[in-house]
Symmetry: C2
Subunit: 262 residues, 2 copies
DNA sequence: TCTTGCACCTCCCGTGGCGGCAGGTCCTAC
DNA sequence: GTAGGACCTGCCGCCACGGGAGGTGCAAGA
């Protein structure tokens, strides 16, 4: 066609079919200078040489590995004299893949948990579920990724059984304190003092070996509680029947006073 | 400030600090109607209520799970009356996570292989390595994802040892054929006929149970060889010393004639 | 000769989820 | 009076193209 068939190389359409790259993408690569066909025909049509097509295959391969077009351009520009740069680029990309795989795995797990909750219909009320969602985000806001990492690993190490047991014991303590609040037990009573001591030992198995990390986590927890008493209380009271949404703040205040009385 | 502190809710700056969402993002959410602050002050400043902030936290949580802002908008709009839609959304997202994790794992493995090759300095010449890259892309162009899947699984099932053994045997056959080409052995000689028979049995362990799939893979392979003789030959001759870049096409032609002679 | 049709060209707008800047307003504190 | 900070709107930029409009060049059929 056009008598171009005597010209060497291939038209853009032929190249597109051969390589599986869309024509639009070929235009784009030409535009940004990544793969420029060596020549044009008299009528202005692009002619790709064998070396152009080879370059295209290289670009495609590197793209598959998630490199940006800019990275590919610099890599192909200097890769002829050092393979080391390419190696480093690959290594960096590999590290990123692995990091994102880790993130994806964590998110998958969380999602699975949420789906399970929804399936178990443990949360019939959509509002309750949305509150859970809020808490997820609040949690992310107050704890750094590193802290979440530490906590998640700790929980995993201890196992679900232990975590559940801790939860139950904490709830028992809350229930006991609730009774004492209602009874107006004085804060220096030995009974509540013992309860407060048990309260403090609850977190011990979750502590990390680094005391400073513990302090930071405690500070974050305190800030979270300070700023989001209401949401947390609602969340907890959704889980147990004997707790009204505004009980927990009162109880926590009482516990604090008991601790200070020591 | 501005005497706004008597107005209920929070300014955009305060919300940004509390939630960790940038002000620009808050503007964006307002613009697209995803989170509109309930009111404005007389001077036009945004005031976020507690319910606005709750909505923000929900949005953040859903974003973390990779939902698009549009999906979040529809989810939050109707989630109050059906949690099922949300559950399905999560399930779909989970499936996507898992698919992308699979892709990432495959790419990681390929990258690791390439890095290993580079580290082993088995490829001192950058040009050789770039040819390898080309071949990766060519391979992708000629085989569909499904076919690659089948081949990869087959290789994994057989184990590296077997694959390596096949490679070695194939190279031996090539070497034998090369000798016959040079000697000018006629194509109906029993010796070369036997070699061709062995050649054909080589691929048998890699065949999938579905004969049509095998045919398609064979066709793809033929097309690849037809269009990329030179690259493949260069690639193979890079790996062994006794093979010149233009030997392989001649050998393959000879093998073809031997087969047809039967 | 006219039409139809195809391959190709350039130019330009759109995507998602914001980042960032310019230039203005509003209010407080020194 | 002015310096500064928080806030406002409007607009351009990113990345890797997708897609469409509107034009050109050429061949084959009616």
């Amino acid at each position: 066609m056009y008598g171009d068939d005597v010209a060497p190389g291939w038209s853009i359409g032929e190249v597109s079919r051969r390589t599986g790259i869309t024509i639009r993408t070929l235009y784009h690569y030409d535009e940004i200078g990544l793969v420029r066909p060596a020549q044009r025909t008299a009528s202005g049509h692009r002619r790709y040489t064998a070396s152009d097509v080879r370059r295209l295959y290289r670009v495609r391969a590197l793209r598959r590995f998630g490199l940006s077009l800019e990275e590919i351009a610099t890599a192909l520009a200097r890769s002829s004299d050092d393979v080391v740069a390419l190696r480093d680029l690959f290594a960096a990309q590999l590290a990123e893949f692995e990091a994102s795989a880790l993130r994806a795995a964590r998110l998958s797990e969380q999602l699975r948990g949420l789906i399970e909750q929804l399936d178990a219909a443990a949360m019939p009320d959509p509002e309750q579920f949305l509150t859970t969602l809020e808490m997820i985000s609040v949690y992310e806001t107050y704890f750094t990724e590193e802290q979440r990492e530490v906590l998640a690993r700790r929980r995993a190490d201890l196992g679900e059984q232990v975590v559940e047991a801790t939860k139950m014991e904490w709830l028992e303590l809350v229930r006991a304190f609730k009774q004492h609040v209602e009874d107006g037990t004085p804060v220096d009573d030995p009974a509540v003092r013992d309860l407060a001591a048990r309260w403090e030992t609850l977190g011990v198995p979750y502590a990390s070996p680094d005391p400073q990390a513990n302090d930071r986590i405690a500070a974050s927890t305190a800030a979270l509680w300070r700023d989001h008493k209401d949401e947390v209380s609602r969340g907890v009271s959704n889980q147990v029947e004997w707790l009204a949404p505004d009980d927990l703040p009162k109880i926590m205040e009482y516990v604090d006073r008991v601790r200070q009385a020591r």
